[in-house]
Amino acid sequence: MAVVDQTGEPALSSRRGLSRDTAVPRRTPLTWVRGGGLTTLLFLLPLLFAFGAFSWYPIVRSVLMSLQHTNLVQPATWVGFQNFEQVWHDPLFPVAVKNTAYFALLALLFGYPIPLVAAVLMSEVRKRRGIYSALAYLPVVIPPVVAVLLWKVAYDASPLGAFNTVLHWFGLGPYPWIQSQQWAMPSLVLESTWANAGATVIIYLAALTGVQTELYEAASVDGAGILQKVWHITLPQLRGVLLVTMILQIIGTAQVFLEPYLFTSGGPANATLTVLLMIFNYAFGNSLGGDYGAATALSLMLAGFLAVFSLIYLRATRSWSTR
C-alpha cells in the first residue's frame, strides 16, 4: 500500500520512513546524524545487542568451537575435524541416530493423521465449536515438565498404575511401559503426541477456514459424497499447510530432549538415548568438565542434516505444493 502524493510518486515516507535527508544528494556522516541516523541506531540497539550477543555470536562461536578443544580452563586449541571424527566413531552415535529417527517416525505415525482428522471433524461442528478447540489446546498450555512427570506417574509399571488399571478393565496388561526397552520409546511418543497435537489442530482449523466453500458446493452438485469432497477438495486445498506442518514436526522431533531426559534418562539400556540427550551428556553429563567440542560438533551435524533434509524435502514437494 504505497501512499501516493500530489506528484504521483510514492511518498518517500513509505519507503524511507522518516529519514529527512533523502533529498540531499551527498551523504556524509553529518547528514546521516541530522537525518536521524543516530536515533534509528538507538532504537535498534536492544535488537542488535540481544541478537548479537545471544544469537549471531553464539552461532559463529559454535562453528569455531566444533573445531577446537575447549575445557574452559586452558586456552582453546585448534584440532581440525577431530571432534567430528570422535562423535562419528562414538559407539553411541548410531544408537542415538537410530532412536531419534524412530521417535520421529513414530511421532509422524501417531501425531500426523490424528490432528488432521480431528480438525476436519471439528470444522463441521455446528454448535459450540469453541469448546472443541479449547479442549484440544488445553494440553499445549500445560508446562511440559508437568506433563511428562504426570505421565510418568500414570506409566507406573505395577498393576496399580493408572494406565495399567484401565487396560486391566479390558483384560490387558500389566505393561512395563517406560521400563522396557521395547515399549519405552512408543510410550514417550504417546505423551509427546498428546502434548503437541492441539497446536497442530489449531493450525489446521485456521487453514480450513480458507478452503473455498464454492468448491464444496460445486462438488455436491456433481454428486460427490463427503469422503470424496475431503479427498478431492479439502486435502488438496490444505496441502501447503500439511507439507509445512510435516517438515516442522520432523525438525521438532529430531530435537526431542525433555521426554527422554525426564522419563528415562535415555534408558533402559540406551533405548531412548536421542541425539539431543547425547549432546547434553557430552557437554553437561560429566561433572569433571564437559566435552564442548564434541557437543557442538554433534549439534552442527544435526543442524546440517536438518538443513539438507529440509532442502531436499522442499525441492521434492515443490511441484506438488504449488500446483
Binding site: A11, S13, G17, L18, S19, T39, T40, L41, F43, L44, L45, P46, L47, F51, F54, S55, W56, P58, R61, S62, L72, A118, L121, M122, E124, L135, L138, P139, V140, V141, I142, P143, P144, V146, V153, D156, L160, A162, V166, I202, I203, A206, A207, T209, V211, E217, S220, I226, V241, I251, F257, L276, I279, A283, F284, A295, T296, S299, A303, L306
Partner: protein, 295 residues
C-alpha cells in the same frame, strides 16, 4: 471460527440425511468425549490427586472421588517443599523474559518498519536466518558465554539476567511485530511528523497504543514460553533457591510423597491454565498465526 454455517464441507442438504446426521454427529460426539477424557481428564486427575491422601491415590488411581480429602497436600507443598518460593521465582523469571522480549521486539520492529534505514534489509536477512537455525546449535556456546562472558570477566551463572537477556533474542517476535507495524497506516506517521512529533513521540504515543493486539499476543506467548522453559534455567540457575518450578519439580518428586508432589504440579499448572481460559481467543488466534508465519 465465527462465520455462519451456510455450506461447508457438508452441505445443508447432506445434514438432512439421517445417515450423515447420525454418522458425522456420532463421530463428533465421540471426538468430544475423547477430547474431554484426553484434554481435561489429566488436569482433573491432577486436581483430584492434589487434594487426595497419597495412600488413596496409590491404591485407587482412577477412583472418581477421593476417600477423604487432604488439603494438607497443597499447604505442605506450598510451604514445606517451598513451592511458594519457586512459584515466585517462576513469576520473576517470566516477567523479566517478557520485558526483554517486548523491548527488543517493539524498538526493533519500530526501527526496521517505520524508521526503515538503508541497512534494514541486512538486519532483516540476519534475523530471518536465525529462524532457520535449530535452537540446539545455540545451547553450548550460549552456556559458555554465560559462564565466561567476553569483555566482562564475571560469570552470569545463578543470575536471572542469564535467563532474561537471551530471551529477548526471539526473531519470531520481531518478525511478528514488524509485520504488524508494516500494516499501520503511514498517513498517520506523516501527520504526526508534520505536527512536530519526533521518532520517540511517534513510537511511544502513536505506534505503541495502536499495537495493543499484537503486543497482547507476543506477551501471552512470552510468558507461556518462559513458564514452560526447562533446559536453559536448569543449566544457568544452579542454586535451588533461585530455580523456577519447572526445574524444581523433578527434585520435588524425589523428596516428598505422591500427594504433595501432585499438589506441587497442580500449582505449577494454575497460571498457564488460568491465562488460557482468560485469553483463549488470543491463544487460539496466535496458534494459527504461528502456523501462518512458519509457513
Amino acid at each position: 471460527m465465527s462465520e455462519p454455517e451456510t455450506g461447508g464441507l457438508i452441505s445443508p442438504q447432506e445434514w438432512e440425511k439421517p445417515s450423515i446426521r447420525w454418522g458425522i454427529g456420532g463421530l463428533q460426539a465421540f471426538l468430544l468425549v475423547a477430547l474431554v477424557v484426553g484434554g481435561l481428564g489429566p488436569i482433573l486427575w491432577l486436581a483430584k490427586g492434589a487434594i487426595t491422601p497419597t495412600i488413596d491415590t496409590i491404591s485407587h488411581p482412577l477412583g472418581l472421588f477421593p476417600h477423604g480429602t487432604a488439603w494438607s497436600n497443597l499447604k505442605e507443598a506450598w510451604s514445606t517443599v517451598h513451592v511458594g518460593r519457586y512459584f515466585w521465582n517462576t513469576i520473576v523469571i517470566a516477567f523479566g523474559s517478557w520485558a526483554s522480549q517486548i523491548v527488543v521486539a517493539t524498538t526493533g520492529g519500530f526501527a526496521l518498519s517505520v524508521l526503515n534505514p538503508r541497512y534494514a534489509k541486512l538486519i532483516n536477512a540476519l534475523l530471518l536466518t536465525t529462524l532457520f537455525v535449530p535452537a540446539v546449535v545455540l545451547l553450548v556456546p550460549l552456556y559458555i558465554e554465560i559462564v565466561h562472558p567476553p569483555l566482562i570477566h564475571h560469570s552470569f551463572i545463578d543470575s536471572y539476567w542469564a535467563v532474561w537477556l537471551p530471551a529477548g533474542a526471539s526473531a519470531f517476535n520481531v518478525v511478528l511485530v514488524k509485520r504488524f507495524f508494516d500494516n499501520l497506516p503511514r498517513e498517520i506517521f506523516e501527520a504526526a511528523r508534520i505536527d512536530g512529533a519526533g521518532p520517540f513521540r511517534l513510537f511511544w504515543s502513536i505506534v505503541l497504543p495502536m499495537s495493543k493486539p499484537i503486543l497482547g499476543v507476543v506477551s501471552i506467548f512470552a510468558v507461556l514460553a518462559s513458564w514452560k522453559d526447562f533446559l536453559w534455567p536448569l543449566l544457568v540457575l544452579t542454586n535451588p533457591n533461585e530455580q523456577p518450578l519447572s526445574v524444581r519439580l523433578p527434585n520435588i518428586q524425589a523428596q516428598t510423597s505422591l500427594g504433595v508432589f501432585l499438589a506441587a504440579m497442580f500449582i505449577a499448572c494454575l497460571v498457564p491454565i488460568a491465562g488460557f481460559l482468560i485469553f483463549q481467543r488470543s491463544f487460539l488466534r496466535g496458534g494459527g498465526l504461528g502456523g501462518a508465519i512458519k509457513g
